[in-house]
């Protein structure tokens, strides 16, 4: 009897294990056994050869509508470049920025690629690929500024190293907030607010009393790639990384995104896209010449 019970217990345990493994398979890949994970979204992309990319075309130069009303921009080109790596067709789906994650969860799209900032709190619900752009705050100076040598790339920007300088900011922006914080903490510098980042940039170029400008990386890259005589000094002051987003169970898709982005970075294609979309002096909804 005891022996029989042991056999029964062993058989029951084995059956439970089989059910568990089947559930793992059916659940499409979010369990603790990575070798059994199966990413349905990636499988669908592979079978249909269509990759549905969601973006909000209202944020040039990353995504906006061209004169024909078609989505265009850095992210659109990036999606097509990834599509070429995977040898799949890309279908761009326009979705409002605040609805992108819902559209992903509702399986209306396979991926969000829309200059979307990483939010660590959402990692329970979605998977971020490696970031492809950091839109954080930069200290921008003229090419010939001694600050550029004083603060080489990667060097932390500490307010005491800006002693006696005049810093331009966009009034009310994050740069303004950081500069005011420095002032409250006793930094010996002068802050000059400007109505727009473009005004601040113009002042940096033309007004010798302005030593530096605090702006986001998007503004800086547009200025730099557009041939303006400016350079970023030191490291990013804040980080605001943009990343493609796969659904929660899209682990294979996320890995494929990482691999494709790494390949594009290695071949220089990612850099070329930046040059293309940040060099253009874009009108509000224009296309680069």
């Amino acid at each position: 009897m005891n022996r029989r019970r042991r056999w029964l217990l062993a058989a029951g345990g084995l059956l439970a294990l089989v059910i568990f493994l089947l559930l793992q398979w059916w659940w499409a890949g979010d369990g603790p056994l990575p070798f059994l994970r199966r990413d349905r979204v990636w499988a669908q992309i592979q079978s249909t050869r269509i990759w549905r990319v969601g973006l909000d075309p209202s944020f040039p130069p990353f995504e906006f509508l061209n004169d024909e009303g078609e989505p265009t921009g850095f992210d659109v080109d990036l999606a097509h470049a990834i599509g070429r790596v995977w040898e799949v067709d890309v279908e761009i789906v326009a979705v409002g920025f605040d609805s992108l994650i819902d559209a992903l969860k509702a399986e209306r799209i396979d991926t969000v690629l829309s200059a979307y900032p990483i939010d660590e709190r959402l990692t329970q619900d979605i998977l971020y690929a490696q970031p492809y752009f950091d839109a954080g705050l930069r200290l921008v100076v003229r090419n010939d500024s001694p600050l550029a040598a004083k603060l080489p790339p990667g060097e932390a920007v500490e307010p005491e190293r800006l002693r006696g300088l005049t810093i331009a900011v966009e009034w009310g922006s994050e740069g303004d907030m950081v500069a005011r914080q420095w002032l409250r903490e006793g930094a010996a510098l002068t802050v000059r607010p400007f109505e727009t980042p473009a005004d601040g940039l113009a002042a940096l170029e033309l007004d010798a009393t302005i030593d530096a400008l605090l702006v986001d990386q998007v503004t800086f890259r547009q200025a730099e790639a557009g041939g303006r005589p400016v350079i970023a000094a030191g490291a990013w002051l804040t980080s605001n990384p943009y990343a493609a987003i796969a659904p929660k169970r899209g682990n294979e898709l996320r890995n494929a995104l990482d691999q494709a982005l790494a390949e594009l970075a290695q071949t220089g294609a990612l850099q070329q896209l930046e040059e293309k979309w940040f060099s253009a002096d874009l009108p509000e909804n224009g296309t680069p010449e």
Binding site: D56, S58, F59, F97, D98, P117, D119, R121, L122, E170, W171, G172, S173, D176, M177, R180, Q181, P193, E195, T196
Partner: protein, 382 residues
């Protein structure tokens, strides 16, 4: 026999207990560790109210909608309200959800609202309380907490009366419900000005009986251009007129207005086809047309947003300029507006959406430039 049996059992029991000891010890250690980890949550340190403060301001109509409903840490509640005072805003609007206070019928837990109101009054702030959010016991199963059957209006009235009574002398204004002209805020049912008027008819006398001095605000209508028959909303101008048509006039003392500017300058003229700051004037005109010109109004939500991607946002510099100008308009041009409480002072945590760009202070209490500019304005600094 029984004695021998007991003797035999004792060593057995002792052995069993001995075998259990290590497990008990481990269990006990985990339980103690868990209790220690939870201790800070269970015993939030009391935060002293501090000295009685006064708000100094060049514009006594300045206000903000705070967002302390889900703020659990007492020091953050206090710091928020200190910063409101230091900014120079004498008014706050705050939400006191019915479901949080009366989880069981007739059993009230006032701990959180006591704390918020005590700190606010100690900071010299005038509190405008927004009431709503239905507990599970007062609504059908699986319904939205923003849904309330008409037969449950007396329950809501009892809560409002208990609130008015408890905070007599501390809370001067109560807003009945929020944005009843939106399906979302009306429990995902069609907004109904007649039903909302019935709610006022029930709640107003209950509040007044509990505390005759308190001012009851109605409306708090969402500015919307929703076309007739829209499942999402009911045009605010039409809704207000329909409220008057349903006989709402005797059942409120003041009209709560939501005045969002979207991407328009605050001086952009009022237009029924546009949502902008001066849409408030159109609501006021309806009050006057219906013989309610003696009643004041109050802007209990509103303002501008400077999110870089939201389609209704403005640039940060515009947001500062527009907000300052809006307070000026209320002060100089609108004697019928008692206060302007813009959305929102600070969130307990980042929303990670355009909503974060409505705030004046970051979640970690870092003042945004708008806050500092408003502070400068309230101090009369050019």
């Amino acid at each position: 026999m029984s004695g021998v049996g007991a003797m035999n059992r004792r060593p057995q029991a002792a052995r069993t207990l001995w075998r259990l000891h290590p497990a008990l010890w481990i269990f006990g250690a985990f339980a103690l560790l868990a209790a220690l980890l939870q201790a800070p949550r269970l015993f939030q340190p009391a935060i002293a109210l501090g000295e009685q403060q006064q708000v100094t301001t060049a514009n006594p109509k300045m206000g903000v909608h705070t967002r302390l409903t889900d703020e659990v840490e007492p020091w953050k509640i206090k710091r928020t309200l200190e910063m409101v005072r230091e900014m120079g805003a004498p008014w706050i609007v705050e939400y006191f959800p019915w479901a949080y206070v009366e989880e069981q019928p007739g059993v009230y837990n006032w701990a959180h609202s006591d704390q918020v109101i005590a700190h606010a009054t100690r900071q010299g702030l005038t509190v405008v309380a927004r009431l709503g959010y239905v507990p599970g016991w007062a609504r059908p199963a699986d319904s939205s907490p923003l849904y309330l059957d008409e037969e449950r209006f007396p329950d809501f009235a009892r809560y409002a009366a208990a609130f008015a009574h408890r905070y007599a002398g501390q809370v001067s204004h109560i807003i009945v419900w929020n944005e009843p002209n939106l399906a979302l805020e009306w429990g995902y049912t069609a907004p109904d000005p007649v039903k909302y008027t019935a709610m006022l008819r029930e709640v107003y006398p209950a509040i007044k009986a509990a505390n005759p001095a308190v001012q009851v605000l109605a409306g708090a209508l969402a500015p919307t251009l929703a076309p007739p028959g829209s499942p999402d909303g009911y045009n605010d101008l039409l809704f207000l007129q329909a409220m008057y048509d349903a006989g709402a006039a005797p059942w409120f003392d003041s009209l709560a207005i939501h005045a969002y500017g979207w991407h328009f300058d605050p001086d952009a003229p009022a237009d029924p086809a546009v949502v902008n700051f001066r849409r408030s004037e159109l609501l006021r005109a309806i009050m006057v047309d219906n013989g309610d010109e003696a009643k004041p109004a109050m802007i209990t939500e509103g303002g501008w947003n400077d999110h870089p991607r939201w389609t209704r946002a403005v640039r940060p510099a515009q947001r500062i300029r527009y907000t300052l100008r809006a307070y000026e308009i209320a002060q100089q041009e609108w004697p019928w507006v008692e206060a302007v409480a813009f959305w929102a002072f600070r969130y307990p945590w980042d929303q990670k959406s355009y909503q974060d760009y409505f705030t004046m202070v970051s979640t970690d209490f870092e003042p945004k430039p708008l806050y500092l500019e408003l502070q400068r304005y309230s101090r009369g600094t050019p």
